[in-house]
């Protein structure tokens, strides 16, 4: 539960002619986390991909480029699952068939898009050219004349006169600039060009056509319409073709991916002239199965051995079913190291509790629960499923805390003058035990601090376990136990402070809590100075602020109650007595207000609860930076083995 799956390091050694069979078996088993072979030596090199790799990758590129054209929903379930044998027998024929059908259409689309772009460019220059006022056939095609057509920031006529008198200029203002054409004898072209460059000359490429600009514009627009409808119909054809063949294409893609992975396995192995060696990690309980399967497949010619040296095993989290979705939150923070305590299960319990503690409202809880369950049927990707499961847990906890607080959309359900008691006139509801958050806020504040001390205390206990495992008891005492003592002393000091306040004494008057805290503070100080250095004494304040940080458990809750009560007051006390208009406005404000509050109610408790885990709890023990267990293999979805 708190530990990842136990791994063993294995080596797989055999002669090269058995490599393909080994790769086949390993991929099917989907168990071995391969450690890539890095260094090359005199005898062992990194292997070469098998021959079929290049063909597979060529087909794969074609297929993927076709598939990229339509968006396939990651949660898509195939209607027909092809068998490997089926795919293998028709792969070549089908790929080239699809390619000839689809690729030619895609090329047509590309060509049409290209022409569309060109026309668009031409359209852009027609308007400025028209502003010059010369027909297009005069703007080019001379033997002894050079024509500069383009934009100018100012009229360059006078400056050109300095160079030559033999030129003609037609220029007119256009969109804060000038647009114009300069005709000049070829021998002066170079010098004139230099001059007009000073006037911010930007050339316009003059298109070739006959007739007026307006006629050309119409022509272009018509052509564009035609092209657009052509592209659209081609797209539809391609989409239809691909949709009809989607199962087959996905199956082939999967088949080829798997074939490619298998044939590229040598790249991860150490290979000598006649033999190969693969090294990696396998879950301990699966080792025997893997050994048996491989040795069976190769008639015992490939040897699977367990190695004793432990390098850096990958982490495969092992958590009870209910806690699995929370692995998402753990991985978002970082991947736990193999030897580290896995925080997921604890988080699976504490996270929803904190969420409910903050939101605590039957009405909101029910809405979030329904929302979460509904979205679970819509969003099928694993990430969303995990997130929504977390939301559902949180909603259930919110409902439970809603009963404890006696709140429903901000209304008080239980107690004197509560909604239920007033409506039903039943004394029973006046005496339902509950905790009114607004009245008992100071007490809840103290409770949140206690929760904080406990939560972080667990963190330090985990920290002691982690450090002990990696560096031994001495380090655990110097790095973690001292801080656990500090945390307890903070808890005691806050208790002493509260006790003095309650009995009306001076805040720092000695009492038993202060006295108990003193030796703990001294022990912490000595251990810290010896272990980490005097500089780290300042961290005591960080820990204190961490502890107080748990007050947010109360704060966020009060904010959401405050919102709800404010909206209810506006609607019931201010708007409803105003008559029919007031009632309509009231209903709108009621729905809108609670909708906003509900959104905040999902976002804020979720983020704050996450933050308390990430910032306050995890930093006490969770270093992370582990490697995630990703075995060589793939779970087939669109294909099946016979």
């Amino acid at each position: 539960m708190f530990k990842p799956v136990e791994m063993v390091k294995v080596s797989i050694v055999g002669s090269k002619d058995n490599f393909e069979k080994t790769a086949e078996t390993l991929h099917r088993l989907n168990l071995l986390h391969i450690e890539d072979y890095g260094e090359e030596s005199e005898y062992f090199q990194i292997g070469q991909p098998l021959e079929k790799a290049s063909k597979a990758s060529r087909f794969l590129v074609t297929l993927r480029s076709m598939l990229s054209y339509i968006k396939v929903d990651p949660a898509y379930e195939p209607k027909k699952v092809y068998s490997v044998g089926e795919i293998d027998s028709m792969l070549e024929e089908k790929v080239s068939d699809l390619e000839s059908k689809i690729t030619s259409k895609l090329e047509e689309i590309r060509a049409a898009e290209e022409e569309l772009r060109r026309l668009e460019d031409e359209k852009k220059v027609l308007d400025p050219l028209k502003a010059i006022g010369l027909p297009v056939d005069l703007l080019g095609g001379y033997r002894n004349l050079q024509v500069f057509v383009g934009y100018f920031s100012a009229n360059p006529m006078e400056k050109i006169m300095d160079v030559t008198k033999e030129f003609e200029i037609v220029i007119s203002p256009y969109d804060k600039e000038f647009v114009g054409a300069i005709f000049v004898k070829s021998e002066f072209a170079q010098e004139v060009f230099k001059v007009i460059q000073e006037f911010g000359y930007r050339e316009i490429a003059v298109p070739e056509f006959e007739g007026t600009y307006d006629a050309r514009l119409q022509e272009i627009e018509k052509r564009q319409e035609d092209l657009k409808s052509k592209i659209e119909s081609l797209r539809q054809e391609v989409e239809k073709l691909e949709k009809d063949n989607l199962d087959l294409m996905l199956a082939m893609e999967e088949y080829l991916t798997i074939e490619l992975e298998k044939s590229e396995l040598p790249l991860r192995a150490a290979v000598s002239k006649y033999a190969f060696v693969l090294a990696g990690y396998v879950p301990k309980e699966k080792f025997d199965e893997m050994k048996r399967e491989i040795e069976q497949a190769t008639d015992g010619k490939v040897v699977v051995e367990q190695l004793t040296d432990k390098m850096k095993p990958p982490t495969a989290l092992k958590n009870p079913r209910f806690a699995k979705p929370f692995e998402l939150l753990t991985f978002t923070y970082t991947t736990p190291k193999y030897h580290e305590v896995d925080p997921t299960t604890l988080m699976a319990i504490v996270f929803p509790l904190m969420f409910g503690f903050m939101l605590g409202d039957i009405g909101y809880g029910v809405v979030i629960l329904i929302l979460g369950l509904w979205l679970k049927t819509k969003l099928k990707t694993p990430g969303w499923q995990d997130l929504l499961t977390i939301l559902v847990y949180s909603a259930i906890s919110t409902i439970a805390f809603g009963f404890i607080y006696g709140e429903f959309l901000g209304f008080e359900l239980f107690g004197e003058h509560s909604v239920l008691a007033e409506i039903t006139h039943n004394e029973f509801f006046e005496h339902v035990p509950h905790i009114n958050r607004l009245e008992l806020a100071p007490a809840i504040l103290v409770l949140t601090i206690a929760i904080g001390v406990l939560h972080m205390g667990i963190g330090y206990v985990f920290g002691i376990m982690n450090v002990k495992k990696e560096h031994g008891w001495k380090h655990a005492v110097y790095e973690k136990l001292n801080w656990l003592l500090a945390l307890i002393s903070i808890g005691l000091i806050i208790t002493g402070f509260i006790l003095n306040q309650m009995s009306g004494k001076f805040a720092f008057a000695p009492n038993f809590a202060y006295i108990t805290a003193t030796p703990l503070v001294i022990a912490w100080a000595i251990l810290t100075i010896k272990g980490e250095g005097a500089m780290f004494l300042i961290e005591y304040l960080t820990l204190l602020s961490n502890t107080i940080s748990y007050a947010r458990l109360l704060a966020v809750g009060l904010a959401s109650v405050g919102f709800a009560i404010a909206f209810n007051y506006m609607v019931l006390e201010m708007l409803f007595p105003m008559g029919i208009v007031g009632i309509i406005a009231g209903i709108i404000i009621f729905l809108l207000g609670h909708f906003i509050n509900l959104l905040l109610g999902i976002l804020d408790p979720g983020l704050q609860s996450l933050r308390l885990h990430y910032v306050e709890h995890f930093v006490k023990y969770f270093e992370g930076g582990g490697v995630r267990y990703s075995p060589f293999g793939k779970i087939r979805k669109f294909t099946k083995e016979e």
């Binding site: 970082t334 990430y614 910032v615």
Partner: protein, 71 residues
């Protein structure tokens, strides 16, 4: 529980000013964190962690306001 007017104002200032301070602190961190996340989505967890660090200051303000109002 009688609360003097000025005490209520003080409590409000404690939360409000602390909120402004935390907001100022978070704006820079948040912008940088989003930038880092755009480069590497794996940064999300740590980015969130960094961004919310100044938030504790608001909680201090809140605790102070509680002490003022209730004790």
């Amino acid at each position: 529980m009688p609360v003097d007017g000025m005490v209520a104002v003080g409590a409000g200032l404690a939360v409000g000013l602390a909120g402004i301070g935390a907001g100022l602190g978070e704006q820079g961190i948040g912008a940088a964190a989003v930038g880092a996340m755009a480069e590497d989505p794996d940064f999300f967890g740590r980015g969130l962690l960094m961004t919310v660090i100044p938030e504790t200051i608001v909680i201090f303000g809140l605790v102070i306001s509680f002490l003022l109002m209730f004790i």
